[in-house]
């Protein structure tokens, strides 16, 4: 790794400078607390899906069924949320996702079926189950139809940090700074305030799950055993680790997290179930996990990146065009930063930046249909850039059988 990655504060400052610079140049709302708050809300389901993939793959089971487990989570969450209140919905979402995870675990761990194949099959089955349940359970209820549920009763509620972001007791220091409009200071305040102002309790829970995953996976005996099932199951087995049970645990937790992501979509994002609501977030979450090199903090960072790109273009269609300029600035910043140590990489980044800048200059706006594709294109671009520098758990994707028979 180069010198830059060892100085996160410096990177953060450079990125902040680039974003603030573009904001000042174009006048688009790239750093206001509203955009950042939306980015956080959009990042949560992606981040939870990423954590879901992380728990499963750390235990050695590739999970491509996250999307399907999320779908089950949305249906179960909407059903319980409508009849028994929002928190019952969250719980039902988690349980539904875990049930789908159990199916994946039985098929891949006990029967040793190809994990990719099973994940795809889980997605196909989950889509069918969701549509069937939706028709059977929701039709006839007020506000529901064949493809959507009635609204969830009640809401999760939000919290703001006191003093800094207008929480209970008053005081909105960051808000005052943001409204002050001083270059860089206002931008930094807006970014921070977005993360602290009117945050859903479920978002808080999702954010807390990141350090919890770190602690459990890297600082407990259970975590060590679970990861050993993903790194070298035969060695783990010879030391008395119950490999299959660890893999079951990983996939079940993975299913629960995916279900929570689905429940979040139902209870916080939209307030009801709609067909196709997950929109591939399970796969984007997997991409965030890969971007984060199979680590919780990196996964969260990847999710925030995707969420931010989503939020900017959702709030103003014109801002998607600005992202091109931002991309160019970031690529050039990276090129300058690594120029001495890795000249070829720097040249590549500079070229990429030039291409983005040329696109920015030559087009007036990005067509709305293509804006739809930005998160997926971003994911592909990120995967193409980072895929080779990553280290995945060594035994992901391989079934394990005692004695090898």
């Amino acid at each position: 790794m180069n010198a830059l990655t060892r100085r996160p504060a410096l990177i953060a400052l450079l990125v902040l400078l680039a974003v603030a610079g573009v904001r000042a140049l174009t006048g688009e709302a790239l750093t206001d607390s509203g955009t950042v708050g939306a980015a956080l809300r959009l990042a949560v389901p992606i981040g939870l899906a990423g954590l879901s993939g992380l728990w499963s793959e750390r235990a050695g089971v590739a999970n491509l069924g996250i999307e399907g487990m999320m779908i089950i989570g949305t249906v179960c969450g909407a059903w319980a949320g409508h009849f028994h209140g929002v928190w019952a919905g969250v719980l039902a979402g988690v349980l539904g996702g875990a049930a789908a995870g159990l199916l994946h675990a039985v098929v891949t761990v006990t029967f040793g079926v190809d994990q990719v194949v099973c994940g795809i099959a889980v997605n196909i089955l989950a889509a069918g189950v969701a549509r069937f349940l939706c028709v059977v359970v929701f039709t006839g209820l007020p506000g529901a139809g064949a493809t959507q549920s009635p609204p969830v009763t009640g809401d999760v509620g939000t919290v703001s940090v006191p003093l800094l972001a207008g929480g209970a007791g008053g005081g909105d220091l960051l808000g005052d700074l943001e409204r002050g409009g001083v270059f860089l200071l206002a931008d930094a305040a807006g970014l921070l305030r977005g993360l602290l102002h009117e945050v859903s309790w479920l978002t808080v829970a999702a954010v807390v799950l990141v350090p919890v995953s770190v602690v459990v996976l890297w600082h407990t005996a259970f975590g060590l055993r679970l990861r050993s099932a993903g790194e070298h199951p035969a060695a783990a087995d010879s030391l008395g680790v119950p490999v299959q049970r660890m893999r079951y645990c990983g996939v079940l937790i993975s299913g629960g997290l995916a279900g929570l992501a689905g429940a979040y979509l139902v209870t916080v994002s939209s307030g009801l179930y709609q067909e196709g609501q997950t929109g591939g977030r399970g796969f984007i979450g997997l991409a965030a996990m890969i971007f984060g090199n199979w680590r919780p903090a990196g996964t969260a960072g990847g999710a925030l990146l995707f969420g931010y790109a989503d939020a900017v273009q959702l709030r103003q269609a014109s801002a998607a065009h600005t992202l091109l300029l931002l991309g160019a600035m970031l690529a050039w910043t990276a090129a300058i930063a690594v120029a001495r140590r890795r000249p070829r990489l720097a040249a590549g980044a500079a070229l990429l930046g030039a291409a983005a800048f040329a696109l920015f200059q030559s087009t007036g706006s990005v067509p709305t249909q293509l804006i739809y594709a930005t998160p997926y294109l971003t994911t592909l671009l990120v995967l193409a850039t980072v895929a080779q520098r990553l280290r995945m758990p060594a035994y992901v994707g391989l079934p394990y059988r005692r004695g090898g028979a």
Binding site: A121, R131, F132, C134, L383, G404
Partner: protein, 379 residues
């Protein structure tokens, strides 16, 4: 020669055991769900069978299955070398749109017109699949994720091209209608020659013939060519294939191109046979059904054909269910259960066979004094 044939025939019950088991399980699950939903399972099945077995329903089922067969072939080609082209969905939709746009602007004699459109579709599908292949070979990006993500990108690109570039009128939201020279004739005349007359309104699409030819071609490609041999060897044992001089990077690229080209054709039966234009209502989802069909058919053309027919039959006979007040989504669940249980059943059968083989080895080596070596693979 005779022994080989006998061995093959003995294998048939094994090959059928897994799908039969899967179908049974799907029926059990569907029965339970129907009962839970308050519908009579027995009456539902009888209604489905009666409606599905009507001659016009059967013809419609065959027409539907052609699309799934093509999509299944495209998926299967990659599955055979442990490569996963999950992007058939995006490939066939993009290819159908480009073929429709090209076909509407061409003025050619009938067979040539269709041939050119097929070529355009194959090129478009292959080009879209090539992105994933190159990302894998150059940058090490897993093709599972990249083809999946490219599906979503394709959705955006198709919507953009349709609205901004190819839309015929200002309001239609579809490409211009194809001239008659690009319409695929149906097979009713051919059937009449054979003495079969279809009931009123039903017509067996000409694409059935094309699909059958392609199925044979893919079978020959996989089993009778050097490329097919290399492909299967890469799938069975990548390390051995490399030692034998098979370049994995080249295999990945060529296989994805072939798969994408076949996927490109999957949209054409509907485009050339019935719709004659590409609009917002062009059927979606065949790419994912293709995955299910390929898994059920064990990735061979001969297996995919009945699997595709089954799925086509299920979807056609489900149409009656809405009239009967039973949610027709029960069929989607059945398809999902079939896919999961067929892969599980095959794994179980495979293990049973391996154990049987191990017993045979032990039985043959026992008379010798030395203890038999442990059978099976060492991890």
């Amino acid at each position: 020669m005779m022994n080989e044939l006998a061995a093959r025939i003995r294998k048939v019950p094994h090959a059928l055991a897994a799908p039969a088991l899967a179908l049974l399980l799907a029926l059990v699950v569907a029965t339970a769900l129907l009962a839970a939903a308050g519908a009579s399972p027995g009456r539902t099945y009888v209604t489905m069978l009666e409606f599905g077995a009507r001659p016009d329903s059967l013809v419609s089922a065959v027409n539907r299955s052609v699309v799934y067969f093509l999509a299944g072939l495209a998926v299967a080609v990659t599955f055979r070398m442990n490569l996963f082209n999950i992007g058939v969905e995006g490939q066939y939709r993009l290819a159908a749109l480009l073929a429709a746009a090209a076909g509407a602007h061409l003025d050619l004699p009938a067979p040539l017109h269709v041939a050119v459109m097929c070529a355009v579709a194959m090129l478009a599908g292959a080009a879209w699949a090539a992105i994933a292949a190159l990302l894998k070979v150059w940058r090490g990006v897993s093709e599972v994720l990249s083809t999946l993500l490219l599906n979503y990108v394709a959705t955006g690109v198709v919507a953009y091209l349709l609205a901004e570039v190819f839309a015929a009128g200002s309001t239609t939201g579809s490409t211009a209608d194809l001239p008659p020279s690009a319409h695929l004739p149906d097979l009713n005349g051919l059937l009449a020659l054979a003495g079969v007359t279809l009931p009123g309104g039903a017509s067996l699409g000409g694409a059935v013939l094309g699909a059958a030819v392609l199925g044979v071609a893919v079978h020959l490609l996989l089993t009778r060519t050097l490329f097919g041999h290399d492909l299967r060897m890469s799938g069975l044992n990548a390390a051995a294939a490399r030692v034998h001089g098979v370049d994995p990077r080249r295999m990945i690229i060529v296989t994805m191109l072939v798969s994408g080209a076949i996927a490109g054709l999957a949209g054409l039966p509907h485009l050339l046979g019935t719709a004659h234009h590409f609009g917002l209502d062009f059927p979606a989802g065949a790419g994912f059904t293709g995955i299910a069909v390929a898994l059920l058919g064990r990735n061979t053309p001969l297996g995919i054909a009945p699997a595709a027919l089954l799925f086509g039959f299920l979807e056609r006979s489900a149409l009656i269910l809405d009239i009967e007040g039973v949610p027709k989504e029960i069929v989607t669940i059945m398809q999902g259960v079939i896919v999961i249980s067929v892969v599980v059943a095959h794994e179980v059968v495979r293990r049973a066979e391996r154990r049987r083989a191990a017993r045979l080895v032990r039985a043959r080596t026992e008379p010798e004094a030395a203890p038999a070596p442990a059978p099976g693979r060492v991890p």
